[in-house]
Symmetry: C2
Subunit: 218 residues, 2 copies
DNA sequence: CGCCGATATATCAGCCCGATATAACAGTTT
DNA sequence: AAACTGTTATATCGGGCTGATATATCGGCG
């Protein structure tokens, strides 16, 4: 069960690797920096945090108020604090639950990042976004797998449409054409990344590898 | 509840508008013609059909064996048929449940297609794929809404990154750059579609509308 | 002081995905 | 004819995601 890597958990761990944060901050940070790529809803983020906590991958750490937070209104603050902290982990003044990544979490992050079974568009983009935490061998494999998958998808679509035993609605052709272009663009981009990766991986016995590539292309 | 339009139900209705089909055929047809755009799993398709049936949007019609299916092995076929048809709608020889669209379903299809609350990438692509069933006014509105949404998204992302109070992981920038390019490409495509739509909508009093457009752009 | 918007956490129904189970049938092999 | 392999066909389940909603605190502003 749960064969594939959970993208959201991967992102949470990746962000917590940089610094401790609470849920709200995580979402803000996510949409600010990765907003074009992915988007988390409350209904997915908090359960994800709960899951990670249950696994021991993250844990609630002490409150970290951005500004010292000087209410100092006598005993009132204390009362609230007691009420709020009833039987839970440490929280901040505003009932914040600040999470930190554990060693287990770091290990899980690496494992998820290197898990090949991920295939969909979003999962690929997210893994690539954190690809500096992979070694270049894995990175290359991921890129090639993605390239092969897109190629296969496009070929399969073309095959199906050539032996078209049905009439396509006029606008369908329009949309398909655009998606095909997008795929080509993605493909070119990935090929470029592969090339860069290969050239930056040059080792002493480069000649053998190059000749291998040439042979493959004949 | 269920404010947004269910893309899968929309597609099912759209395909059933062309001809009666059973579930397996629907999925095959979907991946064959729309495979680049969307993808349905068994765990979503059959419940969707059940929902549509419950709403009265589709109903099981008589079996429609592609080839007359001549078992004719005496009473055996009859026995199986009796066993299989226990208390259900009409089915074909191989326990097929062939669905047809009803008047309610046709109305629902139109309503879903013209429902503006849809916003995500996939939903847009699918509605556009069936856009020949919309009148050109609605089509135009959908295209413009989509354009505005992408524009807003890109601007928002740029705004967030300019006041970057955080350090981006190196590969994140790479991915973001590509997504920005994709957005530009999508935008150009949509603008093109809008232009085409506008020019093919020319009516007697065109001059007024054109001058309106010009005014807007000043 | 009260109001409002931003901060902060949580839950729920409904839906989707991936996996799995079950079985009839078709074609080929043995 | 039995045994196999692959395709056709329907269905269900756990776990995860979305969009909506509820609740409450806090900072600032008039």
């Amino acid at each position: 069960m749960a064969t594939g890597t959970n993208s959201l958990e991967l992102v949470v761990l990746g962000l917590l690797k940089e610094q401790d944060m609470h849920g709200y901050e995580l979402k803000k940070r996510m949409t600010e920096s990765l907003g074009l790529i992915m988007h988390a809803s409350w209904g997915s983020l908090y359960p994800a945090l709960a899951r990670l906590e249950a696994k021991g991958a993250v844990k609630a750490v002490e409150a970290r108020p951005a500004i010292p937070n000087i209410p100092m209104t006598g005993s009132l603050g204390g009362e609230r604090a007691v009420f709020r902290l009833s039987g839970e982990g440490p929280r901040g003044s505003r009932n914040k639950k600040v999470y930190g990544i554990t060693d287990i979490g770091s290990a899980l992050f690496t494992a998820m990042l290197n898990n090949d079974s991920e295939i969909d568009e979003k999962g690929f983009a997210i893994r690539l976004a954190f690809a500096n935490h992979m070694d270049s061998e894995k990175r290359l494999k991921m890129l090639r797998d993605r390239r092969d998958l897109i190629l296969e998808r496009v070929k399969s679509s073309r095959r199906n449409l050539e032996k078209k035993r049905f009439t396509l609605e006029p606008y369908v052709e329009l949309v398909l054409e655009h998606f095909r272009l997008n795929n080509s663009s993605d493909l070119a981009w990935i090929e470029e990344l592969i090339a860069k990766e290969e050239s930056s991986m040059q080792t002493p016995e480069t000649d053998l590898m190059v000749s291998q590539e040439v042979q493959d292309n004949l």
